[in-house]
């Protein structure tokens, strides 16, 4: 598809999407610096290949692909990071700007969700992707994307609103 977006459009696009993209990338790497490297590589690749600027499913699929490549290339380090996180509830580099204890607890609960549910939640809540876009990015059906989202919300609701 021909890309008619101007350079300024791309700058605005990056500025708007960067917080959500970084959060998305942080699911695979705990270091903010690694997440930044992933997002930079993905965004530049996406931009250079002249994809449509609004093809967000492809952009997020690119971030995911680069993150998984990084993990494969550096498996031992990723495992060490994952172990370090699981040993402590305190994430060294916070993923959210937390205002109070309740938000801290909610962010910690998010970290404990199964990965496939958390990535759908992150794409939907903080990146405003539709289920159709999420399904395309993850190569799953829309029903599966919607189910994972509901399972994630149900799990969080159970923790925070036990009744």
């Amino acid at each position: 598809m021909e890309n008619v977006a101007s350079h300024e459009d791309w700058r605005s696009c990056f500025s708007e999407l960067a917080p959500g993209l970084l959060l998305f990338a942080r699911q695979w790497v705990r270091s903010r610096a690694d997440a930044e490297d992933i997002v930079q590589e993905a965004f530049i690749r996406f931009w250079r290949r002249n994809h449509a600027i609004n093809n967000r499913a492809l952009l997020y699929a690119t971030v995911r692909s680069i993150a998984l490549d990084l993990i494969r290339r550096n498996g031992r380090r990723a495992r060490r990071e994952a172990e370090a996180v699981s040993e402590s509830e305190h994430v060294v580099e916070p993923q959210f700007e937390l205002a109070d204890e309740a938000q801290f607890a909610l962010a910690a609960a998010l970290d404990r969700l199964p990965h496939d549910q958390r990535e759908v939640l992150v794409m939907k809540i903080w990146n405003d992707l539709t289920f159709a876009e999420i399904a395309t990015a993850l190569n799953i059906s829309q029903n599966t994307a919607a189910s994972r989202y509901r399972y994630a919300l149900a799990a969080l609701k159970k923790i925070f609103q036990p009744q």
Binding site: F14, G20, E97, W126, L156
Partner: protein, 59 residues
């Protein structure tokens, strides 16, 4: 309104950490560098036609 609207609203109140200025500048610079390097690339144009030569040839 669905069953999960309360927890959805709580989640939406969580703001992802904002990217550093250094990171944003780094990406913008990368985009700028790519543009410059692409502008400087001289590619042969296989469809370029030498109309003067063609006209002289026909004449």
């Amino acid at each position: 309104m669905n069953d999960f609207s309360d927890i959805e609203n709580e989640l939406k109140k969580l703001r992802p950490v904002h990217p550093s200025h250094r990171f944003v500048a780094r990406v913008e610079q990368a985009m700028g560098d790519q543009e410059i390097s692409e502008d400087k690339t001289i590619r042969p144009n296989p469809l370029r036609t030498n109309w003067v030569g063609l006209g002289l040839g026909v004449a």
